[in-house]
């Protein structure tokens, strides 16, 4: 039996749960999961991997859209699928009865519990507008192959 070099699989889930801090971390007030929000961005915005925190720059505006976006439902904790950690919001993200006349093509998910509103991920889609309607983002199946956020 030989040893195997590895990034321990459970550590990937533990990182998603904030259990490893190789650098300066934060004092957490509770062991509860953080709250996350989703904000929409116009198609001329430049959101991407360099984002560190939520930014209002390029965020959509319109009837019934509140700056900062809507809450993300995170009832399902990060999990491990063989060696891939994965996390997916447990419900669709819905912006209800909005009018967004300027085309938008991205949603940024960010940590609403953190004091600086740390950015988590950016997801893009084809440019859309909404008129007195609903914009619904349905999540993929939460597993190691299709989960919305994965560490392999």
């Amino acid at each position: 039996m030989a040893n195997t070099q590895a990034f321990c699989s459970q550590a990937k889930v533990d990182m998603m749960n904030g259990l490893h801090a190789m650098g300066t971390s934060v004092v957490r007030a509770t062991t509860a999961a953080d709250a996350f929000k989703a904000a929409l961005y116009v198609d001329t915005a430049t959101r991407g991997p360099a984002d560190t925190t939520y930014s209002p720059t390029g965020e959509v505006s319109g009837t019934n859209y509140l700056a900062g976006g809507v809450a993300v439902t995170t009832a399902s904790a990060p999990a491990l699928d063989v060696t891939t950690a994965h996390f997916t919001p447990s419900a669709s993200i819905v912006f209800t009865n909005v009018t967004l006349a300027t085309a938008f093509d991205a949603v940024v998910i960010y940590n609403d519990t953190s004091s600086t509103k740390l950015a988590l991920s950016v997801h893009t889609f084809g440019p859309q507008t909404v008129t007195a309607g609903d914009f619904t983002l349905t999540m993929p199946v939460d597993n190691g192959t299709t989960g919305l956020i994965r560490i392999a």
Binding site: V122, G126, F135
Partner: protein, 65 residues
């Protein structure tokens, strides 16, 4: 029973509206758009969009050799 559709002109009887559904799929998403117009008119009085994300974000740690 009358079905009312919420629009930019208020709640309108569905029988007065034309409904158009468009959908497309690519490697990134499955999207369905539903538009309502008054019969015989061009102005969109309601547009809903439903996007199903297919492409996730992914990170792969690399170990030092």
């Amino acid at each position: 029973m009358t079905e009312l559709i919420r629009t930019t002109k208020g709640d309108i009887d569905a029988s007065l509206l034309e409904k158009r559904v468009d959908s497309f799929e690519n490697e990134n998403e499955i999207t369905k758009c539903t538009e309502y117009r008054f019969l015989g008119e061009d102005e969109i009085v309601r547009r809903d969009v439903h996007v199903e994300l297919k492409k996730n974000v992914f990170s792969e740690p690399v170990l030092a050799e």
